[in-house]
Symmetry: C2
Subunit: 450 residues, 2 copies
């Protein structure tokens, strides 16, 4: 009998897909939730993993433990490569296509290098657990290498960190890097002073956190500078090479203001683009896609002429103003996920559903220990109260109760001791000489010596 | 002035090296602690990481946070490749040699495949964090692949796990694998029943936990069998190939009892050998090495004719009976580390030190939730009280206070919910198609299809 049930296929176990799946728990459907990873990831806290404050398992939960025991849901670890909307089929990288009655695509967004895909190697972004542990390893190794270096220029290069992009992720990462060097590692090295590390935050627009109102971005910038971050607003990245960033001032066509920064570690937080599945959806329907690769969806999040196909979250451009899509935030994806589930449930009752409305829960970013900024409509808050609010909101959002407890204990500890205990250098196997022998220092040195 | 201080070089930041370093905190020496990893690892709990119960950071602590702020100590991330004992120098894989006045070598042990080094690829062991996350990934992926497989033989192969060696690590790993399949994953799959997974424990000698007394090993075996582990004692591994183990009964020269087990995942817990640095030490001195590669040291843990060179822990064979070295346990290494520090401190006071004496703190192994066995002299304990004792002892040993709290919270949660939240599949970059795209399922499938 179960084979005859209406089949809902959900692509992506992020905030949107997970909320849709959970909201369909009691609906008369069978659900297949497909994700290429076996875990839901709480991306807003990924920078904490990258900087050794939290462990990966603190911010990720296995999809099977979240919805695997939901009776109408089966979880499938697979990569979706495309769709045939006419035949109602989803194509996987391996295995047979899956046929759906209703399709919800919530495949999110990837890092975008604005056409410079070769920059990805030079300046890793922060979208997955592996990204975070790689950044953690690179930052910690840089200090270890600097401790053993003798040439002042090498030490300077190794202890200079550049973060490109001053949105919430870039601001959080830069703030955390400054805190690591000035506080966590202080006094633990003998040949270098980690507090002398430079952290530069490069932003193309004229202020940090450009989606926030001006008074808050000023406060954020002052907080960053107090932490020791050098904020360079109005500077565009012109060239990225291993160990080297070239920036020019915004609007300077002749590049007379060119600056070159020598830095072993460059991190990218400057932009995202919708997952390539957006393009595939648009090709198979009459939908457009916007400049960010987002699928333009109708008022009920479905594709034009395809009422049984929905796109939600970072993948979708919902609304009437194409140039101003809803922000790529977890609450948007979650609300759309729940909304689409409601539309599907009500269809079984023969009812229509009013169009989706976004309930703005506000916007927050943290800068460091005890400092955050937030706004909710006209209400603005900052400093320690905002940090507490930020903490509270993020803990509430964390998917599993257990994670909340553990993250709270970990944060409490970090807060009082200024410690970051997850400062583990776990090397990529490619950097290993043999499986059990630890990092291949020759190979690593070769990289440093570029 | 600091350059003139007596220089103690400690090789290895495991239990022995760390205890020696800490015990020299107030000695009139300067210390260089060298390790190829940046963290101290609490190896006895590594199997908990391998089976998703704990995060790597729960059982590992950065060496710099442990001793980096100790005024007389400098931590160096480097790999030691050999010694010149006459010139009193330590050679590193990269960088200049380091000159010592006193040398403490505590480089521990590696996995040993008894001359079959090609088995290392087929049957990974459990010595490092990377080993543990690799085993975790392989176990979880096997269930995911089985969920998608249709051929019963493939499903059977994917859900058969073989653990070779029934010492404490093998017993703990087999018990945890049985618990994962029978409890943690129960009800989270739709096409397979994880509880039908087979877990086989193969041991060459005639009983599990051969270092324990017989009544306890019987109890341990019954507990394992109750959990669903198939215990095969008196069977030797004859051949290991990808997906395939051949075993013969002990003493069966004609191999008439040959059995072939088809299993995707085979894990090795059958033996360790001292770090190769032992051989280098022996070459440079008049010391012998035993069959396990351990350096034979004198009553004060120093090398014969080299009173300023000590070998401790898993690397050393101390005592008069060469064939019965002290067990390779953390308490031995810790006591020797503290003892050697005392010898060094007392030399500055012109005092000699009585020979090292091992204070036997007993022996424990856990089998699963609520079950452990232990013995201390003639006193034996088992079941839930032994499990509580095991829990208490291990928490006390964990290096940092913070880790204790977090591990306790995590364990409490796991105990009450039978959950294992760290069940993350984080792939090796080699298994990735591109940096941001997640595992390369084609490559993984190719591996499965061998």
């Amino acid at each position: 009998m179960i084979g005859r049930l209406h089949h809902v296929v959900i692509v992506g176990g992020g905030f949107g897909g997970l909320c849709a799946c959970r909201s369909l728990k009691k609906a008369p459907v069978r659900i297949t939730l497909i994700d290429r990873r076996n875990h839901h990831l709480f991306q807003p806290l990924l920078y904490q993993v990258a900087t050794g404050g939290l462990s990966p398992a603190n911010i990720a939960a296995p999809l099977r433990s979240l919805v695997g025991s939901q009776a109408n849901t089966s979880v499938r670890l697979a990569e979706v490569v495309g769709f045939d909307l006419d035949a109602q089929r989803v194509f996987l990288r391996r295995g047979s296509p899956i046929t759906y009655d209703t399709l919800i695509v919530a495949s999110g967004s990837d890092q975008s290098y604005f056409g410079h895909s070769q920059w990805a190697e030079v300046a890793p972004g922060l979208k997955s657990i592996e990204d975070a542990t790689r950044i953690r390893r690179r930052v910690l190794l840089a200090f270890e290498m600097a401790e053993q270096a003798t040439d002042p220029q090498t030490i300077r290069r190794l202890t200079t960190f550049v973060v490109v992009g001053a949105g919430p992720t870039g601001v959080e990462l830069a703030g955390a890097l400054a805190e690591i060097s000035r506080r966590t590692l202080a006094g633990q090295f003998h040949n270098i002073d980690p507090a002398k590390a430079r952290v530069l935050l490069v932003e193309g627009s004229d202020r940090v956190l450009p989606t926030f109102t001006e008074p808050l971005t000023e406060k954020a910038q002052r907080s960053l500078e107090r932490l020791g971050v050098e904020v360079l607003t109005g500077w565009m990245v012109r060239l990225l090479e291993p160990g080297r960033v070239e920036i020019v001032q915004q609007g300077d066509a002749d590049e007379e203001t060119r600056q070159v920064i020598t830095a072993e570690n460059i991190f990218w937080a400057a932009g995202v683009a919708a997952s390539p599945l957006g393009g595939d959806l648009a090709k198979g329907s009459n939908c457009g896609i916007d400049r960010g690769g987002r699928v333009v969806v109708g008022p009920d999040c479905s594709l034009r002429g395809r009422p049984n196909v929905f796109a939600i979250g970072d993948l979708a451009n919902w609304g009437h103003d194409l140039d101003r899509p809803l922000p790529g935030l977890a609450p948007v994806a979650m609300q759309q996920g729940r909304y689409v589930a409601k539309v599907i449930r009500r269809r079984f009752q023969g009812k229509s559903t009013p169009e989706f409305r976004y309930f703005d829960r506000g916007n927050m970013a943290t800068i460091g220990r005890r400092m955050a900024v937030g706004e909710l409509g006209r209400f603005r808050f900052w400093g320690f109260p905002a940090w507490l609010a930020w903490l509270f909101v993020h803990l509430m959002y964390l998917a599993e109760f257990e994670n909340r407890v553990l993250v709270l204990v970990q944060w409490g500890w970090n807060y009082f001791t200024r410690n970051r205990s997850a400062r583990l250098i776990t090397a990529e196997p490619a950097d290993y000489s043999t499986e059990s022998e630890g990092p291949d220092w020759d190979a690593l040195e070769a990289k440093w010596k570029r």
